[in-house]
Symmetry: C2
Subunit: 191 residues, 2 copies
């Protein structure tokens, strides 16, 4: 998505070789008019799939998922993060290791909101090592639902999440894939 | 908002006299087409204010805030929740007691995304004891910004949050105010 790459190139802050900050338009402050364009782009890429639900995980995936669902006219389900496995008897639960927080959390979705009739599009803002997306795929499988694909706003192509998902045959579509970056230059993968 | 009250009356699950579950359309699964109507309703109620930012708090406020910002064409800022006060030197921070979790968290917004030029509309999905909204108002004040008002989807009128805010002279507008409820009946306040 050309406009997204331009915004990343001209506005993002890179810290070291790993951290890309775009929290002024994507994940702390949200530019809602721009988000509308992102939703439209995901719709273009997945509109031939008979999507019934859009699945994301709290918190920063929610805005992107809502903008995408706008075009599909299907519900968003957002997985909840919990520090405890606890005793919920009515949720699909997947354990996810967070490299940001350096610990595990449990991702949970109520049985009521995903089932074998669903054809699910997973949406998230970032993909790096891919643990959150793998957790959501696990939940789609637990529900017996089918997976239409995975839509990511910004993929860090120099981390392994994207290539692992592609090796699994997952239909993953990232609006911008960063091949490498440092404080002076951001290199995107040709798509 | 008549349609919202109808949905609450016919679809919500009440547990005891305190817990209202609407997580099939508002805060776990989100009915995005209905959310659009909620955003339009908040726009009608606050459109005469020169809003520059919509402020909410992760996670379940985000979807409602995005739907509202759609109509105002202004950015959403979502406050982040943190379990630690830690050492961020560039955030407005407010300590909030959560009755749901029975502990405190710190609500944080970067200095970059709110300032004295801003006229802020606070949006949240639920209002009960009002601690999250009070935290957001505290942050608006720390930023030197002005407060246009507070828009709430569902207010539990039998808890003290709403009346405390009104006593402070806050322009608060709730789309549905529940006066009392039990498993057989939900009574709304006349508005």
């Amino acid at each position: 998505m050309k406009l997204l790459k331009e915004r990343i190139r001209t506005e993002a802050t890179v810290i070291g070789s790993q951290v890309l900050k775009v929290d002024h338009f994507l994940n702390h402050q949200v530019d809602v008019d721009f988000l509308h364009k992102i939703g439209a782009e995901f719709y273009e890429r997945f509109k031939d799939e008979p999507i019934t639900k859009i699945l994301t995980v709290e918190a920063s995936g929610i805005a992107v998922a809502v903008a995408t669902a706008w075009f599909f006219h299907v519900p968003v389900v957002f997985a909840k993060k919990s520090d405890s496995r606890n005793l919920d008897q009515d949720t699909y639960t997947s354990e996810v290791f967070s490299f940001t927080r350096n610990n595990c959390y449990w991702m949970k979705v109520s049985w009521r909101y995903l089932d074998a009739q669903d054809h699910v599009l997973i949406i998230d803002d970032f993909l790096a090592k891919g643990r959150a997306v793998q957790g959501m795929i696990d939940i789609v499988h637990q529900a017996g639902a089918s997976l239409a694909g995975v839509g990511i706003v910004i993929e860090k192509g120099f981390q392994e999440g994207g290539s692992q998902l592609r090796e699994q045959g997952i239909n993953i579509s990232s609006l911008a894939i960063i091949e490498s970056m440092d404080e002076n230059h951001i290199e995107f993968r040709d798509q």
